[in-house]
């Protein structure tokens, strides 16, 4: 067995997955090859560290945490929505806003009628127009 073949089989050898004859060949090669023996030691170390990490358990409340995260995230439900609803919804909101602004401007226009435009009989009743506050305070 050469070094390339031996190193290719090292993982399976470490896990005890090699058939008897190949296993013996790997063992014999490792006894006489310092480079492959070093590679074997590194493979073992790598497997041990990885196995240690694989044993680590997640937070026991992880499922609850995930479901809470889903609830609290301000996402829309992943329910299928018809395409026209996706377009219609923002259109309705925009139109409503525009209508509200227009109504506001219209009402503001009515309220903002100056005294000049008042009918004469109403203007007579408007004390403030006849005599201003500043004139009264000067007396």
């Amino acid at each position: 067995m050469n070094c390339q073949l031996c190193q290719k089989e090292l993982d399976a050898y470490c896990q005890g997955n090699l058939p008897g004859n190949i296993r013996t060949q790997v063992e014999n090669h490792l006894k006489g090859c310092e480079s492959c023996a070093s590679a074997f030691a590194q493979t073992q170390l790598l497997n041990r560290v990885i196995n240690e990490e694989r044993e680590i358990q997640s937070n026991p409340f992880l499922v609850t945490r995930i479901m809470e995260g889903i609830e609290s995230s301000s996402v829309e439900r992943p329910v299928h929505q018809p395409v026209f609803m996706k377009v219609l919804r923002p259109a309705i909101i925009t139109t409503s806003l525009a209508a509200a602004v227009f109504a506001g401007v219209l009402l503001g226009g009515f309220a903002n009628t100056s005294p000049d435009r008042m009918p004469a009989e109403l203007a007579m009743m408007d004390d403030m127009a006849i005599e201003s506050v500043s004139m009264l305070s000067n007396e």
């Binding site: 993982d11 590194q42 170390l45 990490e53 997640s58 945490r65 995260g69 996402v75 992943p78 329910v79």
Partner: protein, 189 residues
């Protein structure tokens, strides 16, 4: 109840049914994440992020692949994004290595002829993790899915959207790279 049945119900508005998928796949997603971040707290956070992302994108899951393949892809992408964000630390580590100041971190030489007898020290763990972290991304993904999840080359190929031959080559190159990276710290006295 199959994954596709659960997904249908979730998409019809039964949001709580998603819990079944979380319970079914949380361990494998956590193990995958820990293969990238090597840290329980970060792996917990990443697992949560993966499932929230999966929930948000569930309507985009067409069922062309298994749900497990799909969520593995999300986990791999989220993990890679996470490690990219912390790439600055790795760059500093490499500068440290180039300057030769890493000599003080050499692994203790083996006193025993039998590596089975070696105890894993914190330094050993640190250098193995560092060696995995320094692998090119594709090799890293292939080795994590292979060693942490025991997935077959076919499954890894589906997740990585590549051929089985390419996965085999990636795994072999990853193993060779890992040995190369670990060998300077494994000199016998």
């Amino acid at each position: 109840m199959s994954d596709s049945d659960v997904i249908k119900q979730v998409l019809q508005g039964e949001r709580d049914m998603f819990r079944l998928l979380v319970e079914r796949y949380q361990h494998m997603i956590f193990r995958t994440c820990i293969g990238f971040v090597h840290n329980k707290e970060d792996a917990d956070d990443l697992t949560q992020e993966v499932f929230i992302q999966a929930f948000q994108s569930l309507s985009g899951f067409k069922g062309n692949s298994n749900f497990s393949t799909w969520i593995y892809r999300i986990a791999v992408n989220a993990s890679l994004n996470k490690v990219r964000r912390s790439a600055g630390a790795i760059i500093l580590q490499r500068i440290d290595s180039l300057l030769g100041t890493d000599k003080e971190h050499r692994l203790p030489a083996s006193d025993s002829e039998n590596p089975e007898d070696l105890l894993i020290g914190e330094e050993h763990r640190k250098w193995v993790r560092s060696a995995i972290d320094q692998l090119p991304e594709k090799q890293r993904v292939a080795i994590v899915l292979s060693k942490y999840e025991d997935l077959s080359q076919k499954q890894i190929a589906e997740i990585m959207n590549t051929s089985e031959g390419a996965v085999e080559a990636l795994i072999q190159r990853a193993k060779a790279n890992l040995r190369k990276k670990l060998s300077p710290f494994w000199k016998k006295s």
